[in-house]
Homo-oligomer: 417 residues x 2
């Protein structure tokens, strides 16, 4: 490796690990997302032509337009998208990372995380609970609308005010501690959600004098919705990876994203360009129901796979042995160890107790991926494509082709070094 690439990677790595992300607010998308429009629907993954959005991701976009009152029916929404009255765009181009299909419209409340080291901001919508049917999974109906209304009317304003009252919630301590408390921070955010809830509690207590019922419902929600922190984390990783984007000469991966059409990555030294393949990960894990068949399952797109760029999720699986109800301790350890072979360095503060507090493997290097033939692993879900929602949980092996494409582009730009 050239000294120049090494130095550039060190700089991109530094921005990833030295960021100081603080959760500062909850605001409506239209008020905080760069370039957001009243008639815009954002969705996960690289931008696709409208006709390439299929299945649950297509339905989620149409339903998102309806929830935002941009259309009354899916047919009307489809027509308005074709005519340009409704705009469809990619989350990542508007400062936001989305879970599942990642639908964000103008009125969607989003967490606002600021990296105080660079001023970069990231955003993500709020978790609406463990219900099997959700807009982000391409479902719609009165049940789905009720969940979103709760988020819009109760959860978001209450959390927003509590966050502002508390002067912002520093996220490094929550991430650091949750890895000591058995979270991988992709499939388990139980400890992080507990720590996040506790951090908000003094402000919620204060707020409860004015709005006792809203606070009571918010606290009750956070008690059961133990995946709530993940959206804060998405906003955080979006900010940190954006801060690490555009380091001239760096071959570190700054984005991974799935759409219904395939898998794509961005590389720091190549800016905001996507490199991908029309291919989805292979799945190794457990189905929630024994009758589920792999051939009925697939992926509808998600930005959540970005968190592994920071070295949490599957990279930190050895911090979260409770995950082995769909894996095994041995596999979680082996997979985390493998990720050290494709990353630039070890995080100086976020550590894995089982490895004698070795830092999590941070900063995927496309060339290390190619040299070792080891693809990044993701702790994630697979979806039943027949509309039955999440079908199973496990480890996703990401397609090598996206990293090959990025490496080719890197060589084309920087030469073969």
């Amino acid at each position: 490796m050239s000294a120049r690439r090494e130095q550039a990677n060190q700089e991109a790595f530094r921005r990833l690990v030295e960021g100081d992300p603080v959760l500062i607010d909850v605001q409506k998308a239209i008020d905080v997302l760069p370039g957001m429009q009243p008639n815009m629907v954002l969705t996960s993954g690289r931008p696709l032509p409208w006709d390439s959005y299929v299945g649950a991701q297509r339905m989620a976009i149409l339903y998102g337009a309806m929830y935002e009152s941009l259309a009354e029916t899916v047919e009307e929404a489809d027509r308005k998208i074709r005519s340009g009255e409704i705009l469809v765009a990619s989350t990542h181009e508007h400062g936001v990372a989305g879970a599942h299909t990642g639908i964000h419209t103008a009125s969607t409340p989003v967490f606002v995380v600021e990296d105080r080291a660079t001023g970069t901001r990231g955003h993500s919508s709020l978790f609406e609970g463990d219900a099997p049917r959700r807009l982000n999974q391409g479902c719609y109906g009165d049940d789905v609308i009720a969940l979103l209304r709760f988020v819009d009317d109760i959860l978001a304003p209450t959390l927003g005010e509590a966050i502002r009252k508390s002067g912002g919630i520093p996220l490094r301590p929550i991430v650091r501690r949750s890895l000591n408390l058995g979270d991988d921070l992709h499939m388990r955010t139980v400890a992080a959600t507990l720590l996040f809830t506790r951090a908000l509690f003094p402000a919620l207590l204060e707020l409860s004098r004015e709005r006792p019922e809203e606070v009571r419902r918010t606290v009750s929600f956070l008690e059961t919705a133990e995946y709530s922190f993940f959206r804060v984390e998405l906003a955080m990783v979006k900010a940190l990876t954006d801060a690490a984007t555009g380091v001239e000469g760096s071959s570190l991966v700054t984005k991974m994203a799935m759409s219904c059409d395939g898998f794509d990555v961005q590389v720091s030294g190549l800016g905001r360009q996507w490199f991908g393949v029309p291919q989805h990960p292979t799945f190794e894990g457990k189905f929630f129901r024994p009758e589920t068949r792999l051939e009925d399952c697939g992926f509808y797109g998600t930005d959540s796979v970005i968190v592994e760029c920071l070295g949490v999720g599957a990279f930190a699986g050895a911090a979260a042995f409770a995950l082995q109800n769909w894996s095994s301790s041995e596999r979680l350890v082996a997979r985390s160890l493998a990720m050290y072979t494709i990353t630039h360095g070890e995080h100086p503060e976020f550590k894995i107790p089982y490895f004698n507090f070795r830092g999590i493997p941070t900063g995927i290097d496309v060339f290390k991926v190619l040299e070792t033939g080891t693809v990044p692993l993701i702790n994630g879900f697979i979806v039943n494509m027949k509309g039955h929602g999440l079908a199973g949980a496990g480890t996703l092996h990401m397609p090598l082709g996206a990293f090959q494409a990025a490496a080719d582009a890197y060589r084309a730009r920087y030469g073969d070094e």
Copy 2:
């Protein structure tokens, strides 16, 4: 082993693992501890003649008498103890388990835990925070008094009311989950304290309307005092081990306790009798300060070693790799595995994720200890005997002699089978 002993051990084991402990209240010792007297000072370990209490444990008893206003000086307290005006007794004979020297006087607030399966109750005083000088460590002064006043006047009444308002806090779910969240439940109770705090949130919110300042201070305390749950746990294990006491023919250990004078155990089939040796555990761990010398360190007594009777602490060390800042993952695993060789069974609900959710090793059998020569291990502290407080944390190897003495008594009573 005889069929009778096997059956008796199964029954004692059943009482340990099928108990349904619920935290129901905080009350003053005088109001809830069986046989408690206004002029009584309780302390950890088996009962000793007054002159056998030495060092920090003796000082803690004298200071306890002063805090309760039974005497104004240590000299007066000593005189009144000799004359019988002040009574000194053992925690375990009054339904309570004590941390460190375990001082409980009439006005000491205690957690009340009821095992709903048997009706048995256990108690323990409240954690007063991480201050280096505390009454239970044999320290006294304005700083120590201020901590105790906070507990008496703010923490205990607020927690008591919150617990009653919430209708009791079931403890099985907290213990089960905290083992998935990296607690061993002796040296780490971080997750359990978070879960406990969250369980109280709704009641605290409600209570804050009447007493905002008390609730604010209580919440702020629980945020930093991450060892708070341990006292709830002591009360819980006291109840469960009392429920398992007195099963005719059982050779399971129902109590372990230290005094300044030595180490003692009780065995289910031998009732409330103590069997011990004038000997303390050996220590393997890390000192907090590099200049500490082992020869300056020792033990002043504690009932906290009781929790290993349930199979948490060192027995569940492989659930808590974050502890390896004074150990190593390999040692934590090896030690937990060794404990399976001296226990009756595996807990059906409290499990260790790293061992593919194998139940924690529960129910120490004195005969298995002797047959294997493997002594119970404890995750605990060692104390600087020159009055400098806690000196280090690590694994304690308990003296074999106490188990030998109990086995001899068992054979004398039940025959050599």
